[in-house]
Amino acid sequence: MSIQVENNLKKTDNKEIFQQKAHYMPCKIESDGPIDVKKYFDPYVVKNKETDELSGTFRGHPLDGKEMNLPEGYTAIVVTEAKKPLAEDADRRFQVAGGFKDLTYWNWDKKPSRNDSLIKAMDWIDIAEAIHGD
């Protein structure tokens, strides 16, 4: 099975489409599709001016958050699949829908720290560079 990613946005003038806001949520949400973050989530995000830490709320749960840059040289893209093939081993084609350069990650009632799995996962990028780089 091969995976193809088509980027039809290469020549787009809309630079914002690759600078979207992304939130990494501390729960599994069984839903896929557009949601109104500006209406239901953003009004309650408060930044602590001294520590830069964020607080928020989702489904009544208290959240602690932090803004995080992607590692140097990396960007994140969002892809969609117009139609998922029925056969399991068929080729897959995805279309680039946008992207982001930084994200906000949220913990459930736990201050962000070096020990958060998402922060630690980024270690791999340095290690991979050391192992596989020139």
């Binding site: 599994k28 949400i29 709320t57 489904r59 009544g60 208290p62 996962a121 791999w124």
Partner: protein, 313 residues
């Protein structure tokens, strides 16, 4: 509507309704010298919508008649209009505001949900007790000369009384069921709390942008048909409800389970840890189903939740 109530509404409107805030009178100077009684009561403990409000009222022991003259009696027997009127008089009549001080603690529905949905759950009883304690402390810190404390409770009074006596050893503490109808100072506190809660609902502004007011979402009590309709209809598939709603109420929880996307947070096991005993045979069978020895993922990747799966499945 009188100017006192207008001022109250304006004050509430200026605050963030997803956070707690305090509203209070000045401490009457007579309360700084004369020994005072203070009453504590709450409004809006049961509703699924809106804030819970704790109120205290205090006045000199020698001025109990002021409360009677104001008409402070069992606040449940008073109509909303009557409560508004007594509250207005409490703030404007010479004899009243020179003798009676009050504080209200407006506890936002978001704070209630967030407390009950903490990793280490905080019950509504704890939220309530902390509010009551902080109000008594605040009255004293602001300069009121507290001597006697009267508290209304729905639960068993004994434990509550013991706890308060421990925190405030120098005060004479009375905790009682229906204290609201027995002690006029508790009735006064109850009026402060109820009037504040009523007006907080009246001026509720949805930060989510819903153009709707209390005539449409009702009193907030789960039995109110308007509230029921609101809980049934104002659901966002992912976010659930606007923050007027106490998510931690079973009425809201059940409805979301049924009508919104399922959201699962990390499971916190509060029961003591079981010791996981491996069967002895597990040590001799390091093979997967098809007989090929599987290589265990290194701890480095395990800790970081990194795997080599197909992300597009």
């Amino acid at each position: 509507m009188g100017s006192v109530l207008q001022d109250l509404q304006d004050f509430i409107k200026l605050r963030d309704n997803f956070r707690n805030f305090i509203n209070s009178s000045e401490v009457p100077s007579i309360c700084k010298t004369e020994p005072c009684m203070i009453g504590v009561d709450e409004a809006g403990r049961g509703p699924v919508l809106g804030p819970m409000v704790y109120g205290v009222a205090y006045c000199p022991l020698s001025q109990a008649n002021v409360l009677q003259n104001l008409g402070c009696a069992d606040s449940k027997a008073l109509t909303e209009i009557k409560r508004d009127e007594i509250f207005s008089n409490m703030l404007t009549e010479d004899n009243a505001f020179k003798n009676v001080g009050w504080i209200a603690d407006i506890i936002s529905p978001n704070y209630i949900s967030n407390s009950m949905y903490k990793r280490a759950k905080h019950s509504l009883n704890e939220v309530s007790m902390n509010s009551a304690i902080s109000l008594i402390k605040k009255a004293a810190e602001d300069g009121a000369n507290i001597a006697e404390v009267y508290v209304d409770t729905v639960g068993p009074p004994e434990k509550y009384q013991a706890k308060l006596s421990e925190i405030f050893p120098n005060y004479k503490i009375t905790v009682a069921k229906k204290a609201d109808s027995i002690y006029p100072i508790v009735s006064a506190a109850s009026i402060v709390a109820k009037v504040t809660r009523d007006h907080a609902l009246k001026v509720w502004q949805f930060l989510e942008g819903l153009e709707m007011d209390h005539t449409e979402f009702g009193s907030g009590y789960p039995g109110d048909p308007l509230t029921k309709k609101f809980i049934r209809e104002q659901i966002d598939n992912v976010f659930g409800y606007p923050l007027l709603v106490r998510f931690s109420w079973s009425t809201a929880e059940t409805m979301l389970l049924e009508k919104a996307a399922i959201c699962t947070f990390e499971d916190i096991d509060e029961s003591p840890k079981k010791i996981n005993m491996k069967s002895i045979s597990s040590f001799f069978a390091p093979k997967s189903e098809d007989g090929i020895k599987t290589r265990k993922r290194h701890k480095f990747f395990e800790e970081r939740y990194l795997s080599f799966d197909n992300a597009f499945e």
